[in-house]
Point group: C2
Chain length 186, copies 2
């Protein structure tokens, strides 16, 4: 597992019959190496929400999937260069996200009336004087209960570990400083 990108981005959410709204979503991009049964690399795109623990959207792009994505969206790069190009686009969205009229915008759009439990498209859209240009559009699926469960268990394991490290740091800080303090007071 190779974590290539993991940042919180402002996203424009578009649903059927609801007003567009802006929210923050965490986007992570990972390269997953599998060697069983054959060596393969999959690109895993995951959307989560630090404020809503149940929010999870996933997309796994294999090298074959990428070939159809490439044809479908007229991409001129290969699978190996794709992650970095995607990250560059996301970084452009971040650079513009505080502007009133951002040139690059990340959009999460669903054809159903809410985001819950329906597929959604993650689009990187450039707006110029003439039109909206979609640089990339990825279709993500909402996480199943099993996927959300696994994701939460992984988060919990990490946060527990971080908590233990903090507890340890607090203990040593208290010890160190009170030792120094008693030494200084002598």
């Amino acid at each position: 597992m190779d974590l290539l990108f993991n940042k919180t981005l402002q996203v424009q959410v578009k649903c059927k019959d609801c007003d567009d709204r802006r929210t923050f979503i965490r986007v992570s991009i990972e390269l997953q190496l599998t060697s069983n049964p054959v060596h393969r690399k999959d690109l895993v795109v995951r959307l989560t929400d630090d404020a809503d623990l149940y929010f999870l959207y996933n997309l796994v792009i294999s090298e074959e999937d990428f070939q159809s994505l490439k044809v479908q969206q007229g991409l001129l790069i290969d699978f190996t260069s794709f992650p970095q190009k995607f990250i560059d686009l996301l970084d452009q969205c971040i650079a513009e996200q505080d502007k009133d009229h951002p040139r690059f915008l990340l959009q999460l759009s669903s054809t159903s009336s809410a985001l819950d439990h329906s597929p959604a498209s993650l689009n990187v859209v450039e707006t110029n004087a003439f039109k909206h240009l979609t640089h990339l559009s990825l279709k993500l699926l909402p996480g199943s209960d099993v996927e959300v469960k696994k994701y939460l268990a992984a988060c919990l394991a990490t946060v527990k570990q971080e908590k233990e490290q903090l507890q340890q740091r607090l203990r040593t800080t208290e010890e160190d400083l009170s030792r120094q303090l008693s030494y200084a007071q002598q």
Copy 2:
């Protein structure tokens, strides 16, 4: 929600075709108050494992459920006194759990070959010179993916909060002690 009991206990695990083993399991007992559609109290018994985040067994006992449990197991107490009596039994198991031959033992027993995804009975068993006496036997169901998901989200929210409090405490401890230190060194 009223948390009546939440402790880690040694449990003897019995499965079909496998050797008995001892492990530690967290038992929590909660009184859940619902006022919709009618006022009712449910007793929720939950088994989890701090070392295995996916492990979850549940039992919800309503007042009506308790009436059949009472008849079935010949209990002489009513629903209101049941939680404390159950807790007393668990405390007796805790008091005996370090002994080689504990008189009171908590047993988790399943008729299938492993604990995963099959109902299990949580028994409080007293062993005297003559026989094994089952004081109480509760049938628990393994948590569904949705239940495990909810449980993990609740744990994650708690641990995140605890982590933030620790971070805050570490900051104030560092500030306080270095202020005292610089004062003492003057």
